[in-house]
């Protein structure tokens, strides 16, 4: 059957109508992320974090020996390739001191605007391993980043993930169970037109909800946005397409909402926990880090965070964009092949 834009637009309109007339559903889509952000802004409004964070590049033995008795210091070992990223984190007050022993002479950096950095410096210089005059001091500067600023890209991406997975995966399975798909199958509407309409409808919904959440969160708690809005829009659109195509995989054949719910939970919970939405994964177990690196939500959160917090441009997030685009193409191809109306 030939492709028909009229049929696609008709089913797209009907799906959007279903969404915007479901007041409770879209109100929850808008409110939940804003409430989470307000909650975090409130919880972390005081200076209550007790840990000092020391990042060390190279020489694990030195790292192990340094400040071993200071259990209030979290030590993070980094590879030399992570230096630039570590300096950015130092600027954001995510590290208190960065030590690099792979260069000659060895060097440490602190943030000149960080009191905790100066405390860490004093602690470190009192240790014989460092206090031998070899270490060069360097400074970076940057304002402290609130947790709410750091978590904002993650919350936006997580909200998008739930919307894309459930709004496509669960909804299409419900259509199949209650006979809507069978009724549509009896018309000239093709599977391609139907699935395309579902993806497009979800994109419209995600754009609307994410824009509203950004405006609401900015008005209520404010947040840091150092990059271009266009780059962020590109990152979110690519991420939403990737997550929607993941939702389509669930939608291809399942016949009951209960099974779909189980599968969607199985997908969404690991991503919610391991994709760096709430906390950085760099101190996590290597296996957890490897799993995290393979999750689409991680690519989206990382890219959005770099645009929003570091001011990254398209070229700097091209890797994540490429990964999400290729995954989208792969999942769409598999979905189109597996899809059954009934």
């Amino acid at each position: 059957m030939k492709f028909s834009l009229t049929r696609l637009l008709a089913i797209l309109r009907a799906r959007l109508r279903e969404f915007y007339r479901d007041t409770a559903s879209w109100a929850w889509n808008l409110l939940m992320p804003v409430l989470i952000l307000i909650g975090f802004a409130f919880i972390f409004s005081g200076d209550t974090q007790p840990l000092y964070r020391l990042a060390v590049i190279g020489d694990p033995q030195l790292m192990d020996s340094l400040l071993r008795d200071a259990d209030f210091v979290e030590r993070i070992r980094l590879s030399p390739t992570a230096r630039d990223q570590a300096l950015v984190k130092l600027q954001r007050h995510q590290y208190d001191l960065l030590l690099d022993v792979t260069v000659e002479p060895p060097r440490y950096w602190i943030n000149s605007q960080s009191d905790k950095g100066r405390v860490m410096e004093q602690l470190l210089l009192n240790r014989p391993a460092v206090n031998d005059g070899r270490f060069q001091r360097a400074e970076v500067s940057g304002k402290d980043l609130r947790y709410v600023d750091w978590v904002m890209p993650g919350v936006l991406a997580m909200n998008m993930m739930f919307s894309c997975l459930w709004g496509v995966g669960w909804v299409v399975v419900r259509y199949r169970k209650n006979g809507v798909l069978r009724r549509l199958q009896a018309t000239p509407l093709t599977a391609f037109e139907f699935l395309s309409a579902q993806v497009l409808a979800r994109m419209v919904i995600v754009v609307f909800v994410t824009s509203a959440v950004i405006i609401g969160a900015n008005a209520l708690v404010g947040f840091v946005m150092r990059g271009s809005w266009w780059t962020l829009a590109l990152v979110f659109t690519t991420g939403a397409l990737c997550l929607t195509s993941l939702g389509l995989i669930v939608a291809t054949r399942l016949k009951t909402e209960e099974v779909a719910e189980g599968l969607l939970n199985l997908m969404s919970w690991p991503m919610m926990i391991l994709s760096g939405v709430w906390f950085s994964m760099e101190s996590a177990h290597p296996v957890a880090q490897a799993i995290s690196a393979a999750l689409p939500l991680t690519w989206l959160v990382d890219a959005a965070r770099r645009v929003m917090l570091d001011g990254a441009g398209v070229a700097e997030v091209a890797g994540d964009l490429m990964l999400m685009s290729l995954t989208t193409l792969l999942l769409l191809g598999v979905s189109a092949r597996l899809f059954r109306w009934s």
């Binding site: 059957m1 009229t6 049929r7 637009l9 008709a10 089913i11 309109r13 009907a14 799906r15 109508r17 279903e18 007339r21 479901d22 259509y175 209650n178 006979g179 809507v180 069978r182 009724r183 199958q185 009896a186 018309t187 000239p188 509407l189 109306w341 009934s342």
Partner: protein
Amino acid sequence: MTVLLEAIDLIKDYPGLRAVDGIRFAVEAGSCYGLLGPNGAGKTTTMEMLEGLTPLDGGEIRYRGRPVDTGFRHEIGIQFQETALLERQTVMEALELFAAFYERRADVGALIRRCRLEEFLDRDTRKLSGGQRQRLLLAIALVNDPALVFLDEPTTGLDPQSRRNFWSLIEDIKHEGKTVLLTTHYMEEAYRLCDRIAIVDRGRIIIEGEPDALLAEHFAATVIRLPLSAIETGRSLPPEIQRVDGRYELFTDDVPAAIARLESLGASLSDCQITAPTLEDLFLKLTGHALRQ
């Protein structure tokens, strides 16, 4: 008359069950053809194979003398036994949605009037009564002005009044010259609407033809029914008086003679019923079990 649709030796297998076992019939253009049978007989599976929704395990379907192709879906209208529509849309929006799927469209205004949808056009489709919902589903089935309309148990669950109203709608469709393929387990419905019927049981057609011709072929013109209490227990009865389904039945072309015969046997006629045989009687005779079992 030309044959519009042909089912040729259709077969459908499910694990451990042959649901459709060599069904073969032809539907003439402009006629109403009925598939009758109890629940689970294979009517709906046959219908879905003809509609192109369930793949065939054997046999062939021909439309206008040719194997069905992709254009077939534009020429048919379907009303399912059970179906759901997209949620949170009005009756008018549901009609417009389905109309947009087809290149050829019926006059929606005329369709609304014919199916009597005017009073609830702006109502959410989830808030319709059973009769209103069936009328909407019929209107959706007709939205592309189809040549062939499939109606699968269209009046199941409706009250008698709504059922009769719905029959009038189907008669209107027939009068327009459309071809109707109907499944039902209501014999009265089949008798009133269908030009030809096929009685299906356990996946096979057990008899096929025009309703009146089938009844005339298998029964005398009248059936007299008596309760068991009408005849003294233990009395020897002639073979033409049969005990069926908890009562006595006597088929006859000569009612006065049959009454005289019953009186000679000492039967009490105070509760006797004298009616014409029905398709239900035919089904019972051919299969040994009632349609609704």
